[in-house]
C-alpha cells in the first residue's frame, strides 16, 4: 500500500505548543496529540516570522520564532529543508508567512518542547492570514465539540493526558476571530471605497531620495 500523504492540520499556536504527547502508529509514523484530541504529523499555519537566529556562525541552521493571534511557537530550519532554507536566507523579519511543516518534540531540561520542521515557507498577504484564522477557528470548535461528546480514542487519550479546560480554548478562538474580524471589515470598507475613487488624471511624481548620509555611515 502506498503511504498516504499526511494532511496538514490547522492548530492555533496556543494549543500547538502544549502538544507534547507523542504517538507512533503501526506504520512508524510519529504524531503529536493536541489537548483537543487532534493527531498531528504536519501543520499548515499562517504566522508572523518574528526572529530568525543562526545557531552558530555560518552553520546555515536557523531557529525561527513565529506568532499567530494566540501565541508564539518555534521552528528550526537546516540543510535538510532546502526549500525553506532558501527562503529564510533571503527573508527580512518581521514578515507574514505561510508555513507547512512537521511536528517534532524535543526533551528539554525541565520540560518537553514542541518545534516545527518547515517544508515550505512562503511570504503571503493579510487575506491569507484572515482565512487561516477563520478555518483554524472552525476546526478548533469542531474538536472542542468532539471533546465534549467524548467521541473516539484520541479524544479519550487527550482527556487523560491533558485534562484540558475547554472554555480556555473557546476563549482563545473567540479572541483570535474577533481580532481578525476588525481587519477584514476595514479591508472590505477600503475595497468598496477604492472602487468609488477615480485615479485617472492623477500624476505620481517620483521623489528623489538623498542616500549620501546612509552611505557615509
Amino acid at each position: 500500500m502506498m503511504r498516504k500523504r499526511e494532511v496538514a492540520k490547522r492548530i492555533f499556536a496556543q494549543e500547538l505548543v502544549r502538544s507534547t504527547y507523542q504517538i507512533e502508529d503501526q506504520n512508524q509514523i510519529k504524531y503529536v496529540l493536541t489537548p483537543t484530541g487532534e493527531r498531528v504529523n504536519r501543520i499548515f499555519s499562517v504566522a508572523v516570522l518574528l526572529d530568525k537566529d543562526e545557531i552558530g556562525a555560518d552553520t546555515n541552521f536557523w531557529r525561527l520564532r513565529l506568532a499567530d493571534p494566540t501565541g508564539t511557537f518555534f521552528a528550526t530550519v537546516g540543510r535538510f529543508q532546502p526549500e525553506a532554507l532558501e527562503v529564510i536566507g533571503e527573508i527580512n523579519v518581521p514578515e507574514l508567512v505561510a508555513l507547512v511543516g512537521k511536528t517534532r518534540v524535543f526533551e528539554g531540561t525541565s520540560r518537553k518542547l514542541l518545534s516545527i520542521r518547515p517544508e515550505v515557507i512562503s511570504p503571503v498577504d493579510i487575506a491569507v492570514r484572515d482565512y487561516w484564522v477563520l478555518e483554524t477557528a472552525r476546526r478548533t470548535i469542531e474538536r472542542i465539540e468532539s471533546m465534549e461528546k467524548r467521541e473516539g480514542e484520541d479524544v479519550e487519550l487527550a482527556w487523560r493526558i491533558y485534562n484540558p479546560d475547554l472554555d480556555e480554548y473557546r476563549e482563545m478562538v473567540r479572541k483570535a476571530v474577533a481580532t481578525v474580524k476588525e481587519d477584514v471589515e476595514v479591508m472590505e470598507r477600503f475595497e468598496e471605497e477604492e472602487e468609488e475613487i477615480d485615479f485617472t488624471g492623477f500624476e505620481f511624481e517620483e521623489e528623489e531620495i538623498d542616500l549620501t548620509d546612509l552611505l557615509e555611515e
Binding site: 500500500m1 496538514a8 512562503s122 487575506a127 484572515d130 472552525r138 473557546r170 473567540r174 481578525v180 477584514v184
Partner: protein, 314 residues
C-alpha cells in the same frame, strides 16, 4: 462422429468449442488434426484444459493465420466498472478515457483512468501490447483486458491480445463533483516550464520521451500541486490557462522569465512565490489520483463568516 454430447470426451468438446470460434473464418482446419492434439495434451500428458486450449489456439494462429482477437474475443464478457472486484478476470469494457498520466516506466505505453456510468478505474497499456494510443475524453470499447490488483486497488491491463476500438457513444461518467477551499501546500515534480514530446505530448525528462526517445519537444506550462483543506489532500493539475489567470504568467511570459534568468527553473520559483501557501476555491471532478480542475480561483473570507463563529461561541 459422436452426435450425442454425453458420449463425447472432454477433448472432443474442447475441440468443437475452438472450431465454433473460427467457423466464420475462411480457414481449412481438419477436426481430426485439432482433436489429435487435444487428446495428446489432455488425455495423455494430463495438461490442464485451459493450457491445452491456449496451446492449440497459439498453434492455429501460427500455422493457419487465424486472428488471435477472433479466438479470444468471445472469452471475455462485457462488464461495468463497478462489477470489477477480482484480479485476473478477462473482461471487456465500454469506457471513456478520463485522464492520462505521465508514465514513468518504459514498459508502460499509456496509463490513466477510464470510466463508465458506474465508476472509474485505472488502466495500464503495456508497451508490448503495441496498441494505438487513446485520447482523453474519447470513448472506446476495451476488449479482452485483464483485471489486476495493484497496491490494494483494482485496475485493468491492456495486453497483446486486447483490442481497443473507438466508439461513437459518449460514455457518461458518475458525477463525483468536488467543491473545496484549501491551501496549495506543495508542488510535485515536473512542474513549471516543461517540454512535451511532439509525437505524444508526454512530458520529457532531460529531453527524452520515454516512448519516442530524444526529441526536440515543445514548451508548456503546468503545475502539479497538493491542495490541503485540513481534512483531506487533493492532487490537482493546473494548466497554462489556469496559471495565467491566477498568476499572470502565461507561456510567453514564462519563456521570457527563463530567458532573463538563463534558467528555466526561475519560472518554477516564480510560480511557487505566487501560489504556495495561498488559498484557492477549486471546483472539479475527483477521479482516482488527481482532482480534475474545472474552476479555480483565489479565496478570501468575508466579515460575515467571522460574525457567524462569534455568534456560535457566544
Amino acid at each position: 462422429m459422436a452426435a450425442d454430447g454425453a458420449l463425447m470426451s472432454r477433448a472432443e468438446i474442447l475441440t468443437d468449442q475452438i472450431l465454433e470460434k473460427i467457423r466464420d473464418e475462411n480457414v481449412k482446419v481438419k477436426r481430426e488434426d485439432i482433436l489429435k492434439r487435444m487428446k495428446l495434451l489432455v488425455e495423455e500428458f494430463k495438461v490442464p484444459e485451459s493450457e491445452a486450449v491456449r496451446t492449440i489456439t497459439s498453434y492455429l494462429v501460427r500455422e493457419y493465420g487465424v486472428s488471435r482477437e477472433e479466438l479470444m474475443e468471445r472469452a471475455s464478457p462485457l462488464v461495468k466498472i463497478s462489477d470489477i472486484s477480482k484480479p485476473n478476470q478477462w473482461v471487456s469494457l465500454r469506457a471513456k478515457v478520463v485522464q492520462l498520466w505521465d508514465s514513468n516506466s518504459p514498459n508502460v505505453s499509456q496509463v490513466g483512468l477510464i470510466g463508465d456510468e458506474t465508476g472509474i478505474i485505472k488502466f495500464v497499456v503495456w508497451s508490448k501490447a503495441d496498441m494505438p494510443e487513446v485520447e482523453e475524453g474519447k470513448s472506446y470499447l476495451f476488449q479482452n483486458v485483464v483485471t489486476d490488483s495493484f497496491q490494494g486497488r483494482m485496475q485493468v491491463n491492456v495486453n497483446r491480445t486486447s483490442r481497443i476500438t473507438e466508439i461513437e457513444d459518449d460514455i457518461q461518467l458518475p458525477p463525483r463533483e468536488v467543491d473545496v477551499v484549501g491551501a496549495i501546500i506543495s508542488f510535485q515534480q515536473n512542474s513549471g516550464l516543461i517540454k512535451r514530446c511532439d509525437e505524444c505530448g508526454r512530458v520529457l525528462v532531460k529531453g527524452v520521451c520515454q516512448a519516442h526517445g530524444k526529441v526536440e519537444g515543445y514548451d508548456d506550462l503546468r503545475v502539479k500541486a497538493v491542495l490541503d483543506d485540513g481534512e483531506s489532500v487533493y492532487e490537482i493539475i493546473l494548466n497554462e490557462s489556469n496559471l495565467s489567470a491566477l498568476t499572470g504568467i502565461d507561456l510567453e511570459r514564462a519563456l521570457e522569465i527563463a530567458k532573463e534568468n538563463l534558467d528555466r527553473n526561475a519560472v518554477l520559483a516564480e510560480l511557487k512565490n505566487k501560489l504556495l501557501g495561498r488559498y484557492f476555491r477549486v471546483k472539479g471532478l475527483r477521479g482516482g489520483r488527481y482532482l480534475l480542475v474545472q474552476e479555480i480561483d483565489h479565496h478570501k473570507p468575508s466579515a460575515v463568516e467571522f460574525e457567524e463563529i462569534l455568534e456560535a461561541l457566544a
